[in-house]
């Protein structure tokens, strides 16, 4: 009897070719994508997007900017205009992971570099410091050593002539070793500034509130959309198709329900965020509501579109699980996207998760206005309407 049931299960899977392919081909595919996503989170391969402004324009500051631009471990870009304010704006808008403002000649005493950090990307600030220092150690080690000598001189009240000669010689030697990352490592170079209005932890909370909302919206919507297949199996679709209305009203009704379900889930998640973590949802109610509606349209439409193309429940379950997992991983619901390789960050823009998280974090963390939010709204709504359109198209074609 045990073997008989084993045989039944095996034959059912074998004869449902769609489910068979998904059962055995999707897991290695998911592994490849997950390993790519999560391998980057160790920090070693993170390529931060760094906005740089040079307020000094000394020969060494210009050298530093050039060194940063050429650094393969960073994605440095000059701020436009070349001001500290522009850097702060880029970081606050989330367009750069962190910023660097050169506030004094790097050779001068005291902190010469100001790191502008977004606490919601807490790891970005120390990483920026490490990367900049490494870049300097490679490209301009004598500047770091010179700073050290100046600091030492100041501390001990001056150098003798012999010591000065020796330090001059050491500076020349280190300058000649430019390009070697171990030539010299400096200290005390950086100051840090968090973006305006930042509260510790709030950005991360806003991030994960958005991430969990879109994750569960899709998860629940996919489950709800499976009822389309149940109705085909139970004869309900036959009954409805025999009537004048067809399956269009069924699809539209389910879409509205799935939207409502997402909105209520989002209310529950963000109410918790407001009550427990003081995330300012009520202060941004209108853009939050528009974002939530756009996410709801997206989840409902996408789920119905995907399920409409499946013939069996097994196929739909496998495909929806795959889509939920992959989109969540790539889109930043599991790990922040700035920790991923740059190419994967680009791919992430093809997921609704990235856009939903961007919108929620923009509203609740960066006080983003319509200018920053309209694109996520359009993308989320367009994905949802495309899915709904596909589901309605299939519903019109399904007769037999």
């Amino acid at each position: 009897m045990t073997l008989a049931m084993f045989r039944v299960m095996a034959l059912e899977l074998w004869r449902d070719r769609g489910a068979l392919v998904m059962t055995f081909l999707l897991p290695p595919l998911v592994f490849l994508i997950f390993s790519t996503v999560f391998a980057g989170t160790t920090g070693e391969d993170i390529k931060l997007k760094l906005s740089v402004a040079d307020q000094v324009h000394s020969p060494d500051s210009i050298r530093l900017v050039k060194a940063l631009m050429a650094d393969p471990d960073l994605r440095a870009e000059p701020a436009r205009p070349d001001t500290g304010e522009a850097v702060r704006k880029r970081v606050k808008a989330g367009h750069a992971d962190s910023g660097l403002i050169i506030t004094a000649d790097p050779k001068a005493a005291g902190p010469a570099l100001l790191v502008v950090a977004d606490p919601s990307r807490a790891v970005a600030a120390p990483l920026t410091q490490a990367r900049v220092q490494a870049a300097m150690a490679r490209a301009m080690p004598e500047v770091l050593l010179s700073r050290q000598i100046d600091e030492t001189t100041e501390a001990i009240g001056g150098l003798t002539k012999g010591q000065k000669d020796y330090s001059e010689e050491a500076l020349s030697t280190v300058a000649a070793q430019a390009g070697d990352k171990d030539a010299f490592k400096g200290r005390g170079l950086f100051d840090r500034e968090d973006i305006a209005g930042a509260k510790k932890g709030g950005g991360t909370i806003a991030y994960y509130a958005g991430a969990v909302t879109i994750l569960f919206a899709l998860f629940s919507a996919m489950n709800g959309a499976l009822s389309l297949i149940e109705e085909r199996r139970s004869g309900i679709a036959d009954r409805i198709l025999a009537g004048p209305a067809g399956l269009g009203p069924v699809v539209r009704g389910k879409f509205l329900f799935l939207m409502g379900q997402t909105v209520i889930q989002a209310i529950a998640i963000f109410a918790t965020a407001q009550l427990v973590y003081d995330v300012p949802v009520l202060e941004h109610l209108f853009p939050w509501l528009v974002t939530t509606l756009a996410a709801a349209v997206c989840a409902g439409g996408l789920a119905l579109g995907v399920v409409s193309f499946c013939k069996t429940r097994d196929q739909a379950q496998m495909l929806s699980t795959f889509i939920i997992l992959i989109l969540a991983a790539i889109g930043g619901s599991m790990v922040p996207r700035f920790l991923m390789p740059p190419w994967l960050q680009t791919v992430g823009w093809f997921t609704p998760h990235a856009w939903a998280i961007e919108a929620y974090q923009g509203i609740l963390w960066r006080d983003a206005g319509i200018g920053l939010l309209y694109r996520p709204w359009i993308v989320l709504t367009a994905i949802g309407l495309a899915g709904l359109g596909a589901a309605l198209f299939v519903a019109r074609r399904v007769r037999a």
Partner: protein, 312 residues
């Protein structure tokens, strides 16, 4: 003669190279129960698909209330389908289910409650209107399944195997519902393997075989035409017959009827022939539990048509 609700002329349909319908004609009138019979694969489901507007004929025509249901939603509005499956939402009550299907059948909002009450009255389900469907018996669910198909007062009601999985009492209740619907003026297309029900309910039956309609008419009339004066003799044995006894039974023209304990034949001799068979069996040491003589039924006709021996 009342107006035809459904007309099918020379219907042909093929699934790729396999022909499922080969020139079927069908007329069903208002206030008539038409029993569509035939073995599996005869084309019954295909014909229902055509009538429901879900399959497009490769040749021929179909008119439901004068229009082709394939491309005329108004024609489909004249149709109600109670599928073979219990096509209801399990967690919803009877009334909630009927409200949903009423709206999906485009019953105007103001009339929904009246339509639901009427359907429950017709199917005698009103006393349990607030009970979730999952808590109902099989027979009760079958009645609700029909109720969900009549909310918009269709002119043609298709009942696909309405008695599958129901006991005798529930079937009698269902028969009453179907008769009431017929009496209210609805044309009923009853697709069934339950020949006893078809014989008892249908005003006319049609037999499909290999995509063709091979017989049509009133059940009694068809049986009379096919069997004339013949009567069916049924022999119930207490034990399985030995090889010698089987030879005797076959020699008397009897055939096994679904079980090795039941043998039957058609014979013009009626009671006299039955008496002779009884004597011969007793002489051979085989005392029957019962020998019954009865008029042939649709079952005999169905076997005949399916075998294609005497129908040709």
């Amino acid at each position: 003669m009342s107006t035809p609700v459904l007309n099918v002329w020379n219907a042909e349909f093929a699934y790729r190279s396999r022909k499922a319908l080969r020139g079927v004609d069908l007329v069903i009138r208002r206030g008539e129960i038409y029993g569509l019979l035939g073995p599996n694969g005869a084309g019954k489901s295909t014909l229902i698909g055509v009538i429901c507007g879900r399959l497009k004929l490769t040749a021929g025509e179909v008119a439901l209330e004068g229009a082709d249901p394939w491309n005329t939603p108004a024609a489909r509005a004249a149709l109600g389908l109670a599928p073979q499956e219990i096509a209801l939402y399990d967690h919803l009550t009877i009334r909630e289910n009927l409200e949903v299907f009423g709206r999906l059948s485009q019953v105007p909002g103001k009339r929904i409650q009246d339509a639901v009450t009427r359907a429950m009255n017709l199917t005698r389900t009103v006393e349990r209107e607030h009970v979730p469907v999952k808590h109902l018996s099989g027979g009760y669910r079958r009645r609700v399944n029909i109720a969900a198909a009549i909310l918009h007062e269709p002119r043609l009601l298709i009942l696909d195997e309405p008695t599958v999985g129901v006991d005798v009492d529930a079937r009698e209740a269902l028969d009453g519902v179907i008769r009431d619907l017929r009496d209210s003026g609805v044309a009923v297309l009853l697709v069934t393997h339950d020949l006893e029900q078809a014989g008892a309910l249908a005003d006319r039956v049609g037999f499909l075989k290999e995509g063709r309609k091979v017989l049509e008419g009133a059940p009694r009339e068809l049986v009379r035409q096919a069997f004339g004066e013949e009567m069916e003799i049924l022999v119930h044995l207490p034990i399985e017959a030995s090889p010698e006894q089987r030879t005797l039974l076959v020699g008397e023209g009897l055939e096994e009827r679904g079980s090795s304990h039941i043998w039957a034949k058609l014979d013009k001799g009626g009671y006299t022939a039955a008496g002779q068979i009884d004597k011969k069996l007793r002489k051979a040491g085989l005392i029957p539990n019962e020998i019954r003589v009865r008029e042939p039924s649709l079952h005999n006709l169905f076997t005949l048509v399916a075998d294609w021996r005497r129908a040709a």
